[in-house]
C-alpha cells in the first residue's frame, strides 16, 4: 500500500496485485488527482512492463478522480488488451459516461 497526498482528506492509496493468469489488479482508494497521479502511474508501470493480458482497476474506494486520472486509465486501456473498471461508484460512473468512456474503460457495476 502506498499513501500519498498533502493531507488525510486528500490521501490516495493504491495496491497492485499480479495474478497468475496475467491479470493485474489495481485497487484504488481516496481521491485521485493531478497531485498524486504520477505516483500511481509509476507505481503501476512495473506491472505493465511485464505485459499483462488483463487489467482490473478496482475503484470502489475512490471518492474522486479528475481528468488526469481518467487519462491514465485510458492510457492503461491502450496498453493492456483487456481492461475493466470495476465497482465504479455512481458519481465516478457518471463522469466516465459523460466523457463517452464507459465502453473504452469497460465500466462494470
Amino acid at each position: 500500500m502506498a499513501e500519498l497526498g498533502a493531507n488525510h482528506d486528500q490521501a490516495m492509496t493504491f495496491d497492485v496485485a499480479e495474478g497468475g493468469d496475467h491479470t493485474v489488479t489495481v485497487r484504488l482508494a481516496g481521491e485521485l488527482d493531478i497531485t498524486n497521479i504520477d505516483a500511481l502511474a509509476s507505481g503501476v508501470a512495473p506491472a505493465l512492463e511485464r505485459g499483462p493480458q488483463r487489467m482490473v482497476v478496482d475503484v470502489s474506494g475512490l471518492r474522486f478522480a479528475d481528468s488526469s486520472a481518467i487519462a491514465l486509465w485510458v492510457r492503461w486501456a491502450g496498453v493492456v488488451p483487456e481492461i475493466e473498471l470495476r465497482d465504479v461508484p455512481p458519481l465516478l460512473r457518471r463522469v466516465v459516461e459523460s466523457m463517452g468512456l464507459a465502453e473504452t474503460l469497460n465500466v462494470t457495476p
Binding site: I37, R63, S67, A71, V74, G78, R94, M99, L101
Partner: protein, 588 residues
Amino acid sequence: MGAGAQAGAPDFGGPVPLPHHDAGVAMTDSGPVSSSAAPARETTAGGDPGDERPAAVARGRWPYWPALGVAVLGLAITGVLVILAASTYTSNENRLLKLRVSDAGALIAEALPSVQTPLASAAALADATGGSVQKFESFIGPYVGPAGRSFDTVSLWHLGPSGPQLMATVGTPPVLAASPQRAAAFFARAAMNAQLGITLLQGPRPRLGYAFTSPGLTGHYVAYGESALPANRRSTLASQSPFTDLHYALYLGRAQNNSQLLVTDLKDLPIRGQHASTTIRFGDSAFTFVVSAKHPLEGTFAQRLPWAIGIVGVLISLGAAFLTARLLARRNQAERLAGSLERIADENRRLYAEQRTIAQTLQHALLPAGLPKIQGIATSARYEAGVEGVDIGGDWYDLIGLDNRRLLLVVGDVSGRGLRAAATMAELRFAIHAYAAQEDPPAVILSKLSRLVNVTTSGHIATILCAMVDVERRRVTVTSAGHLPPLMISDGTGTFIHSEVGVPIGVRSGVRYTSTAVDAPPAATLLAFTDGLVERRGESIDAGLERLERAAVGEDGDLEELLDRLISDLRGDGGDDDTAIAGLRWLN
C-alpha cells in the same frame, strides 16, 4: 485593467465598460490582459528588502563591542575590589603595627624606673650624707656590672663654683670625664631641669649617659651613670621576645635622627614602607621607637588576598568576555542563517509568483486575442485559473468566425497540467483553426483531431465541444468528444444540448463523431464551458449542471454580466480547477 468589453454587434455602439471579476480575464479588442501583472510586480518589489537585510547584518558595526564592554566592566570591578582589599589589608596592618609599637613603648616605659630610681636615690643619699663616698659606693654597687646590671659605670659628682668635681666612681671610668666642658654643660642642664638628664656619647664605644642632680641645700651632687650601646648600634631582639616579628629602631629624642640612633636590627635606616612609631618620655628627653613588620601581621593570606582577587577577577572578566563574544558570534551566525533562509523563502515566493505569472501569461497567450464580430449576436468569454495553481492549465475556449453569418464555438479541456498539457492544447487549438478554415464540419474536425493526439505518447486526453453556429438560420450543430453539453437559455429556461458523446481526443485514432443540431429560439443564449464551472468533489456532475442552469436563467442582464455572475456565483471563492466559458447571444 481587465475591464470587461463587449465584442459583439455594432448596435451596441462599440465597447462598453462593464463590471468585471478581478481574478479573471476579460477579453478586449487589444487581446487578453493578465490581471496578475500588478500583484506580480508587487511581489518582485517586495523581494528587494530581503536582499538588503543580510547585507546590513554583514556590513554592520563590529559585533564584539558588548564582549569588550563585559571585559572592561569586569576588569573595573576587579580593580575596585583589589583596591578595597589592598586598602583593608594596609589599614589592618597599620592598626596591628600601632598596637604592637604601643605595646613595645609601654614595655620601654616600664623599664625606665630601673634607671632613674638608683641614680635619684644615690644623689639624695649624697646630699643627705654630705657627699659620703663610702655610702655612695656601697649603695650603688649592686646596680653596676658588666652584664644584666643597669649601668656599666656610676659616678658621684659635686657641682662646685669651679665646675663639676668627680668624687667617686664605681665601675669603669666614665667616658664623660674625658671632656669636662661637656660634663659641665650636661650637669648644668640636668640641674636646671631637676630631673633625669640623658645624653648620647658618641665614639668607638658609644654610651648612653644619665645624670640625676639632687636638689639639696648643701650643694649640688650629681649621680651619673653610663651604659654601653652596641658598637655598631645593631642588636637583634632575643628570640623569645614577643617582638621578634618586628624590625625596630630606637632613637634618643623625638625624631628619627640617625645621629641619635641608639639601637636597631636593620642596616638601612630610616625604616621605609609601612611602619609605626611611638615616643616615650624619659627624663628631660624621650625615646622614639619605630617598628615595621618582618611578615604580614595578618598572615600571608590577607597579604595575598588582593592579588588573588585581582587574578581571579581578571580571569573571570576575560572568560565572561570570551563567552559573550562566542554567544555574539553564534547569534550573528543564527541571524545570518535566518537572513539567508528568509532570502531563500523570498526567492521561492518570487519564483512561485514568477512561475505563476509565466503560466498565466502563456495561458492567456494561447487564448484568442479577439473575438469575431458577427452581426446579430454578442459574444463573450472568460478564463479563470484555478487557485494556487502554478502550472499552466489545459482549458481553453475559442470563437472562430467562419464567414459573416457562421462561427465555430469551441471549448476544450486537456487532462493534466503543465507545459505538455499546454502544448497539446495549443496543437489542438491551431489544428481546429486550420480545419475550420477548410470548411470542415465539427464532426470531421474532431475526427481529424483524434489522429493528432495519442494518450500513449502524449499522456493526455482532451475533451472538446465543438459547435457550429449559423447565426442567420439560428441553427446550432453540436459535436462532443467526451465533453460536457452546452447550455441553451431562452425565455427563462435552460436546456442542455445532449448530443451523442464520443470518446475524448487521444483515446484512439480516427474516431467517428456524431453531431446533433438544434434550433435556437429568439434571443437565445448559448454557453459552452469546462468542468471547472460545475464540478465539485463528492458531488454528481448532474448537480453541478443543475446549479449552472439555475444560475444562468436567474436574472436579466447582458451577456457580459451573465458570465461575470456565473464565474463569481459558481466558483465562489475559487475552485481548484481551471475554468473556461464561452458564450454567444442572439440579439433578437
